[in-house]
Symmetry: C2
Subunit: 166 residues, 2 copies
């Protein structure tokens, strides 16, 4: 039995619940992604606080990203990020070749349109974790081939720090 | 880092979300417990299906309850039920002396009134799991001393089966 199963099933149920409420006219459909993102944000904040309780201070932003890719990702998804790339100017791309929250969706292209609602929570999760570590960010995610997922992180503050140095 | 943390934080967030929606007038307050119970039901159905994929057929209802106390509880809460009691007529009491979903609440009596919303999901979880194994049940839970929790399961069908034998 995979350890992440309870989390995964609950996550699916949350998506189902939020979208079902919207159908009943309780909420606007367009707000659903935002709601999932916000829930992720708060969960990310809580998790990173507990995860970094006993860790050493981070050297820099890249050091933080490496922690997200290894410890944080493993805690939530029971695997590490497969590839981390950066332009060293505040843009990071995290690739997970087998993203767990998509693994219950069929691999065909016909379900690609449903991917965004399965990614919103995770975008918030990363943004919340970074936020608690003092890094403001914009986080988006994309799926081109199921179940691989690319998470794009843009940290505007890095550019500012860069400018200040000039 | 405890393995159940992502699940636990997400569970808290779901409660927060449902109660916050209610404050905004989107839903009736009285329905919140039912909503949490329903989410638990569906998660329980999914989990038990995956958990019992490769297990042998259960001998009887007590055998099923033992599975719930050991494998199912461990999967979700990373520990077994501490004590299982039954009257052998369809009533079961499962005691967890350190129930994980209450462990973030302070141990004082002043938070006892908040316990029901932290138990509703789990009641549904157990009812959903049993339902998928063909056991209809009524599941309630109570907390007298934090963070210990007693889950009461009543299976009306057992009494019927008992009567048929007479």
């Amino acid at each position: 039995m995979a350890d992440e199963a309870p989390f995964q099933f609950l996550h699916n149920e949350v998506i189902h619940y939020i979208y079902k409420s919207a159908e009943n006219g309780e909420t606007e459909n367009g707000k659903n992604i935002t709601k999932l993102e916000n829930m992720g944000f708060r969960v990310g904040q809580g998790l990173i606080e507990r995860l970094t309780k006993d860790t050493a201070r981070f050297k820099d932003e890249l050091d933080i990203m490496k922690f997200i890719c290894k410890d944080f990702w493993t805690c939530v998804f029971k695997k590490q990020i497969d590839n981390l790339r950066t332009n060293h100017q505040g843009i990071y791309v995290l690739q997970d070749n087998k993203f767990r929250l998509l693994s219950q969706l069929s691999a065909g292209k016909q379900y690609l349109e449903h991917a965004p609602k399965y990614l919103a929570f995770t975008c918030g999760l990363v943004r919340g974790a970074l936020s608690n570590l003092g890094v403001k960010s914009i986080v988006t995610a994309e799926v081109s081939v199921m179940p691989a997922c690319k998470t794009h992180i843009t940290c505007p503050s890095s550019d500012q720090r860069h400018s200040h140095k000039d």
